[in-house]
Symmetry: C2
Amino acid sequence: MKKTALIMAGGRGERFWPRSRKNMPKQFLSLTEDRKTLIQHTVNRILPLVDLEDIYISTNKDYLPLVKEQLPDIPDENILCEPVGRNTAPCIGLAAAHITKKYEESVMLVLPSDHMIRHNQMFVNTLEDAIALANDGENLVTIGIMPEYPETGYGYIKFLSRERKLSGYKVETFAEKPSIELAKEYVSSGDYLWNSGMFAWKTSSILAAFERIMPDVSEGLEIIKNAIGTSAQNDILEKTFPTFPSISIDYGIMEKSPNIYTIPGNFGWDDVGSWNAMDRTQKSNEFGNIIDGNVITVGTNDCIIQGTDKLMACVGLKDIIVVDTKDATLICHKDSSSEIKKVLENLKICNRTEYL
Amino acid sequence: MKKTALIMAGGRGERFWPRSRKNMPKQFLSLTEDRKTLIQHTVNRILPLVDLEDIYISTNKDYLPLVKEQLPDIPDENILCEPVGRNTAPCIGLAAAHITKKYEESVMLVLPSDHMIRHNQMFVNTLEDAIALANDGENLVTIGIMPEYPETGYGYIKFLSRERKLSGYKVETFAEKPSIELAKEYVSSGDYLWNSGMFAWKTSSILAAFERIMPDVSEGLEIIKNAIGTSAQNDILEKTFPTFPSISIDYGIMEKSPNIYTIPGNFGWDDVGSWNAMDRTQKSNEFGNIIDGNVITVGTNDCIIQGTDKLMACVGLKDIIVVDTKDATLICHKDSSSEIKKVLENLKICNRTEYL
């Protein structure tokens, strides 16, 4: 069976400000010493499974130059430019249409572009299991992550540990981001996994699901598919795609489908949701600091310091995040990183768009 | 009686790094909203008492351009350039020689250039008292400050509260920077004042003290004085001044003299010894922050933030000092400001002199 992949790279994250900006979202940043960006790592990780010419990138016009610059080996026709953002369901549908146009049938992996994974081989092994399960009938497979703590920022997957199929388990239900009390219940129950937003299915399976649950979108995708490779391709896309509802694949398709399975992944996953993630994904020095750039520390512990060529001297600090860029510096307590968005709100209100 | 003043501006403070640098010490910085520098404030404060042409500035070759730029109204011949640093005793002797050359007798005020004073009129009143006391015989007068807490970074003056003369008190002894235990004793005894390093005396009194206690320096000063205004002035200074011992006026002269009086000053004095002094000398906003520059704060309290035109966003900080400059940024906990010197030591060791 042909293996294909969609990497979704249209996101506009704000939580890595000031490194991430409106015109430079997280997936195009390097957060590791090897200077490779998150999307480059994402592509490299699946190369043992999927040929380069079968990897599709969904993005938008603003980020098209970044995608082409950072992923020069991806064929131009595999870069799918959404005319407007419509969340993951239409995004995945569009890619399924393109892939089906090229290969009548294939197993399609769907991956976010901005996550970090520590154990690449374990990840590949899990994807292989997911592919096998997706290939066994019409299953829609989602990769779950065994929760390590009661995170309230993720969706959860409730699975049935007795209903096993190959390496996967039947999904009973999807749960939205929970309260802390509910999250604690989920974790202690052992019946819930974090929803990682990674999927595997046959293109025929997902398109059949669209046809069944979202028939209008399905019709639109058919029109778009027929136009691929013709002179009308762009016009049709520009006309049709914006008519799709903005809805995630989880709520639009997965929750309403039978045959949903999850594979509990165990490969050091991190969605890198804020600067604090550096603590989980990077190795700290003997003082617990994660340091990059022209930095001097005195009596400073457990800090994340992302400097530049400019000298940054940190004295007597603990649990502080420092991120310097050419035109803006962030200094933030680790416990307050969720408040960074208030800085951006303030900048918007004051029309200081140059910093966004 | 003619009134003259010496403002000492040769110091090379490191504690306001990165704003203060080897080529830009504290006295030439502005730390107040009015953008006037510390030395400019020092000169302005005594203008009700001393004419501009009777104010002398001692400095060294490195800072001569800064003195001329910041104090353009001080006559060139009043700017005394020390060939080498020899602490305050030779510095004051040199100024006394110059002043005696101009006026046979005068009362001479001696003031550091880098202190802050909140109540200018109270300060002037105290100096008037000091001048009157200096003029009454051969008294050497030092301005003391009633201690507010057991500071270990200052020298102390033990005075005799029953031996009063005009507005002053007889000094029993000078005490070096004490341990914290000793400092507590000093403060609770009520018999000690902080040594502010400000003095008043007749030029004849201080030169007589030099003649009595440091006869070699006295001879050298006489040679220098005789050369003032001649073509040999500079050569003689360059030859003679380096032969003087490096010693402070407190230990070189005051401790060994009779007729030492102190006037307890009460005018909101601060020696601005570190960035923390901003808390005492500047008005904070409703969140306890003292802010300058292009700064956004979210959930940030009791911080000192000296920004520039570059955006500085502070989130969730407490008791942090941030000082940004063109080529270096300092981020320092208020409790650790005495450790800033370790940054400078590190820079020296690494020969990164461009930051010193």
